[in-house]
């Protein structure tokens, strides 16, 4: 073993790359992209969300090429997106425009439009289904009578639950119109701190699911942060609207599937205990305590991340900080980005020969000096 810088290894690297390519393609049962879109949908949604690009075909390709590694697949998407021009920005879409396929509230039992469970694993037992090893017969979907559908599928049948709180005076009214502020774009400009809320929401929407879950969980266990009740958790399609370049009018060119979480925090439970026993009095507002809403939205079906995002959004919005890490925007925003985190941690396995030989030389020199001092 020599502590010196080296060169070479290209032949080994090329063979290693061949091996990884073979892993993806050599099989009696090669994965076709529709299999990814049809059967690995949750992984695909996570990858597209963290990669910051919604495209089923590209996402499925990234999942296949990365052997199912969501962070590697997200990295592939982010790298690819840099090769495409930005053609513009959509009009801001609102959850009010969502075509609902799932919608539950843990704050209210009866909500306008009702609760729609949709496709959920929430009530299933976690038992391996060995019939799936083979090709089981298709399970028919519980389809109702399409011709007898209520106006039901229309977004206006499902008003936001937070509007109920607003109507009761328990939450401040929303502004009459969308803010004119041009939102910060983290894909175009480097982050600066303190950041804007728009930048925070963008970073959270692109954040790594596991990292966000971990931070949100830490907050719920008392290490700072803010969480309350889920007024509404929704899944459905959000319209993508552009300005028609000839007429200037709004045009919907398609839909993006998203999961949204509206979490309400505050009320008379505004004094939240932190892990060191202190209380956060931010939401205790004199004689008229109010609720505030924290927001989470993610690409596709990813409720874990949407809920975590709403917790982190609420934590970062707090005016009175407890000093906890998850209330520190720099801590949260830098550490939930999967590509940054993966790159920094995994770079440790790459050659650091020069660094380490310098370290060894310093250590040897210190030892020599100490030995010489002892000899007098």
């Amino acid at each position: 073993m020599g502590y010196s810088s080296v060169r070479g290894g290209m032949d080994a690297i090329e063979h290693a790359e061949t091996l990884i390519a073979a892993q993806v393609t050599d099989s009696d049962h090669p994965v076709a992209l529709p299999q990814v879109t049809d059967h690995v949908e949750l992984l695909l949604d996570q990858v597209m969300g963290e990669g910051g690009v919604y495209d089923l075909d590209l996402g499925a390709l990234a999942v296949k090429q990365a052997e199912g590694d969501p962070i590697e697949a997200g990295f592939l998407l982010r790298a690819y997106r840099t090769t495409l021009p930005r053609v513009g920005y959509s009009f801001p879409s609102s959850g009010r425009q969502m075509r609902i396929l799932r919608r539950v509230s843990s704050a209210f039992r009866d909500i306008p439009g009702g609760q729609v469970l949709g496709r959920t694993r929430d009530y299933t037992q976690r038992l391996l289904d060995f019939t799936l090893r083979d090709t089981p017969p298709k399970t028919p979907a519980p389809i109702g009578d399409i011709d007898a559908l209520p106006s039901g599928a229309a977004p206006e049948e499902f008003p936001l639950v937070i509007d109920t709180l607003r109507a009761d005076g328990l939450m401040h009214e929303a502004p009459r119109r969308t803010s004119d502020d041009e939102p910060f774009d983290v894909t175009r400009e480097p982050l600066r701190f303190p950041s804007t809320r728009a930048a925070r929401l963008q970073v959270l929407a692109r954040g790594e699911t596991g990292a966000m879950l971990s931070l949100a969980y830490a907050g719920m266990r008392g290490y700072g942060g803010a969480h309350g009740y889920i007024a509404e958790l929704r899944y459905g399609d959000l319209p993508v609207q552009i300005s028609h370049p000839i007429t200037g009018g709004p045009v919907r060119i398609g839909w993006v599937p998203v999961t949204e979480c509206y979490q309400v925090v505050g009320g008379d439970e505004g004094a939240q205990h932190t892990h060191d026993g202190t209380e956060d009095h931010e939401h205790v507002q004199g004689e008229n305590p109010e609720y505030v809403v924290s927001y989470g939205i993610v690409v596709g079906r990813n409720e874990r991340k949407a809920i975590s995002m709403s917790i982190l959004d609420g934590s970062l919005k707090k005016a009175t900080k407890s000093g906890a890490a998850i209330e520190d925007e720099e801590y949260v925003m830098y550490h939930i980005d999967s590509i940054e985190a993966m790159g920094f941690v995994e770079h440790l396995k790459l050659p650091h020969y020069v660094d380490f030989v310098a370290s060894v030389q310093r250590t040897s020199k210190v030892r020599e000096l100490v030995a010489a001092a002892r000899r007098g």
Binding site: Y54, R86, R99, A174, S179, D185, P245
Partner: protein, 139 residues
């Protein structure tokens, strides 16, 4: 169907079918491609609900094209990477603007594209409709 509705219908239409229709139109209709067709990224913005603050949510791939037929313009942007779909839609847009003889056929095609899109959505809603919760009070 106004111009915005036309683009919505063309964006929802089946790519192969709209390309086939545009090919038929182009047999008697000359256009100049003035933009693209290109594939790029559209940043989708979302409005946060408390302060109605817009933010950049995610990018989506889009294909975009614009054509000119004399004084008439045709434009299309569709989600995904099908430049053929975008170009065909731009051709049809210009053809309708220019009152091409195949306008009735184009209108019928777009009407059917809208109905097909509504049927697809109705089917998806029908699959979840029976998961709507009916709470019962137990006294």
């Amino acid at each position: 169907m106004n111009r915005e509705q036309r683009l919505e219908a063309m964006a929802a239409a089946d790519a192969a079918a709209i390309v086939a229709l545009a090919d038929d139109v182009l047999e008697t209709f000359e256009v100049e491609v003035t933009r693209g067709p290109t594939v790029g990224l559209l940043m989708v913005r979302v409005e946060e609900p408390a302060d109605r603050l817009p933010f950049n949510f995610t990018e989506v791939t889009v294909a975009e094209a614009e054509v000119a037929a004399g004084e008439h313009r045709g434009y299309a942007m569709v989600m995904g990477k099908s430049m053929e779909h975008a170009l065909a839609a731009a051709v049809l847009d210009a053809a309708v603007a220019a009152e091409h003889p195949l306008c009735d056929r184009i209108d019928a095609f777009l009407d059917e594209a809208v109905r097909a899109d509504e049927r697809r959505w109705a089917q998806r809603w029908a699959e979840v409709a029976r998961t709507r919760v009916q709470f019962e009070d137990v006294t």
